[in-house]
Symmetry: C2
Subunit: 208 residues, 2 copies
DNA sequence: ATCATATTGTTCTATTTTTCACAATAACAT
DNA sequence: ATGTTATTGTGAAAAATAGAACAATATGAT
């Protein structure tokens, strides 16, 4: 099993680059083309492919469509991924309105909120009361949730959805959540992203 | 110079954990407390501290306030960081309304957009026409920008703000931007974050 | 048919990052 | 004062990741 997160991220990048190349009319690609496209080395491209059991043709490179097929299968994109959003506030509703996930085979199917004013069953992505989350998640077999509730409510909300069958949470609250029974939590911490950027801007400024 | 991004991210996490511990009334902390708080190892905490030249007291642990002082200085938090948002759409305006950055010493001072309908000079965070971006950035000495324009406009907008003096960009458009003259670009790619989460949920599901 | 060439796939090497281990030592107890 | 203990700080070991090198080989040229 591959546990290297960066490796999976690179796989997503390769896939996106391949779609762009395909759209430009390319049919095959070489490891160094792909390396250029994602800003890596040809060695690493081939190494990654080897890890995933993806093979090409000596001297002939890789067929883009077959590459994409394999990558999509590895990334679980051969079936539509249904996702729910918990917390239909600023971030939550920006995500629910965003159309860009669909072209990636990711569909936000519902939002949940405790605030009655946020409920709207006739939205393109309906926003439902939090009490309905458990049954909705269970009956639709949802495994992935985006958590966008205020910090103070995040742990409780995480516990609820884990108990409802959610297996992976993308958490926007800037704190570390504890996860029970095998639910994976990935954090998007924008404060930390900005701090990080500021740090590197400062140090490159100083050393110059 | 420390170039290890994860190390800086951990530093942010330590800092956040320390604020929480401080709020709970703690005055000093040991490496293993901090490790627990951020989900790491005591060894790594001490190693990180050693890398940054942070020292504590044998048997006495670390004074929280002095730790915070040093970390804030390393992370450039001893002065208010002014940030602009380019693209006042869904994501951009969610960020501009978010109050959470301020307690981190990060202040979004303006947004910029090409759509006249988005312009609003009397907002708490004013949204100004893109044409004013260059002079605003220059005259206010802004170094950090958040880029939240549609994918197709992202490279052009990045070029513009780099040329205006921006040194670091937090980019939300799901594509790799080229950066000229020493401008650092960090990407927040939510599609990839979700794909990654889905991958790990799938593999843990399978191996179970 | 043979040769030269380009490109993969993998092994070997280097680098980076994390973890381990323990000497040094400050605080506390007796 | 002396001894005991807890905890740091760091150098060495291990693990993980990335990169370089090159043998294997398919392709196309002659
Ligand atoms: N908005 C941003 O730009 C931004 C940036 C970084 C981090 N965040 C983080 O993202 C999270 C959401 O931020 P936001 O700005 O969207 O907040 P928000 O206040 O706009 O929205 C939160 C929503 O969650 C709902 N809610 C509260 N408790 C709930 C619960 N237990 N279950 C379901 N819904 C619940 C609220 O009714 C509200 O609609 C916060 O943790 C915040 O720190 C936001
Ligand atoms: N909304 C989301 O949840 C989400 C999720 C993932 C990624 N993204 C990415 O974030 C970016 C913004 O998404 P969004 O949903 O906020 O889009 P949006 O269409 O709501 O907003 C984009 C804004 O940028 C403005 N704009 C266009 N060209 C500009 C230019 N050259 N300079 C300044 N402003 C300009 C538009 O007028 C608009 O107000 C996109 O790249 C998108 O792919 C968004």
């Amino acid at each position: 099993m591959i546990t290297n997160k960066n490796c999976i991220i690179r796989l997503s990048r390769y896939k996106n680059a391949l779609y762009r190349l395909q759209a430009l009319g390319f049919v095959k690609v070489f490891s160094d083309n792909l390396a250029d496209a994602v800003g890596g080395t040809a060695s690493q491209v081939r190494k990654d492919f080897s890890i995933f059991g993806i093979s090409g043709n000596k001297k002939g490179g890789y067929q883009i469509d077959s590459l994409l097929e394999k990558m999509n299968s590895i990334l679980g994109k051969d079936q539509l991924q249904k996702v729910v959003v918990v917390g239909a506030g600023h971030i939550g509703s920006a995500l629910m309105r965003y159309r860009g996930f669909e072209k990636e085979g990711i569909k936000i199917v519902a939002g949940f909120d405790i605030d009655p004013a946020k409920i709207n069953r006739s939205n393109p992505v309906p926003v439902l009361p939090l009490e309905e989350a458990k049954s909705f998640i269970k009956s639709n077999g949802i495994r992935i949730a985006i958590l966008a509730v205020p910090d103070i409510a995040a742990q409780q909300a995480a516990d609820l959805i884990c108990a409802s069958g959610i297996k992976g949470i993308l958490n926007f609250a800037p704190l570390g959540l504890k996860s029970g029974d095998g639910c994976i939590i990935n954090n998007v911490n924008l404060e930390i992203e900005l701090e990080n950027l500021i740090y590197f801007v400062n140090v490159t400024e100083k050393t110059k």
